[in-house]
């Protein structure tokens, strides 16, 4: 068939009309309908980035949701399992198709963007006080002073070190600031000829964005202003945090290439690093892969001018467009309760978000989780602006340009600040 100008224009017109018609339909973003006062009944969907694998599914559906259904027999929950890598896609496609799940798990930093666009429903403040929370844990669940999510599990970024390497070098104390960190890292770096076989410090085995944020907070820096409208990380503190990595790479005590490969034991376990940035779930990994190292690895919170521990995690929130908001709210409340939080934490080796669980057997049996929960007063979170979803994706590749020597730390931070300012200006 030959495409004539007339048929082309007709097709374009029809397509435009279709798209415009699609655009003009009312979506939840403009008319939140999450009134939770109706009957707790109906079918709801739960997009869940926790409870991975067969064991996780059995834990959620065979245990937790059975408890939920005993209390709310008229609610039918369909679970859509995902992982963090696919969570964004699932939410995007769900929103675009008008099939946003009634209840959704979100990451730290995600609440302001979704709340700002009215995609999630506010929760009553009473839910923030029914159990004991560290205020810093609740911070990422809020936007404009309102509660939008309940924290479930936390994944903290801590510093782990090999006690045996410290002992061999006669080092008795963990570093108190960056100067001590650099000194100790240099001392613990091992070379075979010209090749580094053990780095003193491995900051690159966790996401570079989260690592840099930890150091930014530890240097008394901030990401954004309180209202999320002003970029603050382009401060001397932000540049110095990135410059620290560059300096350590330059003196050989850190190596961008010597990192933990996916699915493999960490550099600390392999003995190719003496100190590393890691996640509290390392303890479970040690038990499974290197039980002989369990007693040889210690943890500490590092800071330069103030101790800071980055707090990631998973929160549960209610869609603003749920057709059964009362049922959705009931599930959010249930998933944020100690029973569900403890089970989810145990399954992942994570830190329970509720302080009341501090004395639970699980926390007592996991030294890294216990260490993290005891230091939650030093916890800091990423995000804080409605433009976070766009900005977060740009941080790692932009910082990497400085690490690999394509530009200076100052230039990389300036470039990132430009990107962030543009994103905020588009709000």
């Amino acid at each position: 068939m030959e495409l004539s100008r007339r048929s082309f224009l007709t097709a374009m017109g029809l397509g435009t009309a279709t798209v415009v018609a699609g655009c003009s339909t009312t979506n939840g973003a403009t008319s939140p309908a999450a009134d939770p006062t109706g009957p707790v009944a109906g079918d709801i969907t739960f997009l869940c980035a926790l409870f991975e694998g067969t064991t996780g599914k059995e834990t959620l559906e065979g245990n937790l949701l059975k408890q939920f259904n005993e209390k709310y027999p008229d609610v039918n929950v369909t679970v859509d399992y995902t992982d963090y890598g696919s969570l964004n896609e699932k939410i995007t496609t769900g929103l675009a198709s008008g099939l946003m799940p009634d209840v959704v798990t979100l990451g730290v930093g995600w609440i302001p963007p979704f709340a700002y666009k009215n995609a999630i429903a506010p929760l009553p403040e009473s839910l923030a006080t029914r159990y004991t929370y560290e205020e810093r844990v609740l911070e990422p669940s809020r936007f404009d002073g309102q509660l939008y999510a309940l924290p479930m599990v936390l994944d903290t970024r801590i510093v782990a070190y090999r006690k045996d390497f410290f002992e061999e070098a006669g080092i008795t104390d963990t570093p108190k600031d960056w100067a001590e960190l650099r000194e100790i890292a240099k001392e613990l770096t091992v070379r075979d000829g010209g090749t580094v076989t053990r780095v003193g410090f491995d900051p690159f085995s966790i996401d570079l964005r989260q690592c840099w944020e930890t150091f930014l907070f530890g240097n008394s820096g901030e990401l954004f202003s309180a209202d999320g409208r002003e970029v603050l990380f382009d401060s001397p503190e932000g540049v110095a945090s990135l410059q620290l990595f560059l300096d350590m790479v330059a003196d050989g005590s850190a190596d961008f290439a010597l990192t933990t490969e996916a699915g493999q034991p960490t550099t600390l376990q392999q003995g190719t690093s003496a100190i590393m940035m890691t996640n509290n779930s390392l303890y479970v990994q040690l038990q499974q892969q290197s039980p002989e190292l369990v007693d040889k690895i210690g943890t500490f919170v590092l800071g330069n001018t103030t101790p800071a521990m980055l707090q990631g995690g998973t929160m549960v929130s209610q869609s603003a467009t749920s057709k059964n908001p009362a049922a959705a709210r009931a599930l959010v409340e249930f998933m944020g309760s100690p029973d569900a939080v403890l089970v989810a934490s145990e399954q992942r080796g994570s830190v329970p978000a509720i302080l009341d669980l501090k004395d639970s057997d699980y926390v007592k049996s996991n030294p890294m989780v216990e260490f993290a929960i005891n230091n939650l007063d030093k916890a800091r979170s990423e995000g804080g602006t409605p433009a976070w979803m766009e900005i977060r994706e740009k941080i790692k590749p932009t910082l990497e340009t400085a690490i690999v020597g394509q530009q200076s730390a100052q230039q990389a931070i300036d470039q990132l600040a430009g990107i962030a300012n543009d994103a905020i200006a588009r709000l």
């Binding site: 029809l14 415009v20 003009s24 896609e89 290439a257 590749p397 340009t401 690490i403």
Partner: protein, 316 residues
Amino acid sequence: MAVVSAPRDVSAPPATPSRSPAPRRRRAGAARRRAGMLMVAPAFLHALIWIGIPVIAAFVLSFTDYDVLTQPRFNGIQNYVDALSDPVFRRGMVNTLVYAFFTVPVAMGIALLIALMLDTQLRARALFRTAVFIPQVTATIAVALVWLWIYDPRSGLLNAVLGFFGIPAQNWLSSTTWAMPSVIAVGIWQGIGLKMLIYLAALQSLPKDVYEAASVDGASKTRQFFSITLPLLKPATFFVFVTSVISAFQAFDLIYILTDGGPANTTTMMTYEIYKSAFREFRVGYACAQSIILFVFLLLLTLANRRLNGGDSGRH
């Protein structure tokens, strides 16, 4: 559907004066057109729903700041301005061109060479054909995971082999120097199978009498290859080139698994940036504009190739 016309009796007078041959031909032609349209309808509807409407929707949305959370707002050509001034997307364009430049001709050359070898009376040629084609039908995620191990700087196969010959180990995927060549190598390896299959089918359909005549005239095998085989393979080459370029421009899964576009955007591609804009940053309108730019790239390359090769008709 069969369209049967009435037997034509030239000796008998027409039943009615109005039933002249011309209207009958017109009716038969109309019936054939209707039948043709009916037969084409399912494929047309499928293409309209799954290709036509989404393409038009993408085009329209590319002029909006649609973020799936709120309704689209018209913003003119701002997305195109942003895309063309975004250093990372521009880097993705360059990387995509580099990836296509190396994967397409190199893989085509290797595929043709293998096809020529497998077109002979080689022993166990079915086994070799299968072996060459397997990467094409293997899930890219499996391919990428195997290559992740091969490229592993500490326990990978490649560095182990290099070490055996005394060559120092490299950080294949985390070095700004080696990441792109490493991805290109996997792309070439994975793309050879299908190209080889198309070339093999084309080689087997070449007329034997032309070669016999050339042999009688004393043409060497090399002369036969350059003067007969290559020109006769022109339609196949055009097809392989166009599909390979499109495939190279759509490279995504390898990048997603092997490098995540890094380090420092060294291996990011246009498709990967489109994916990130739409699904990680929620900038769907912007991603649509990036997609339209990719489409224009592909269209221009296809038209240029058609012009350079004199089309796919095989004229030479």
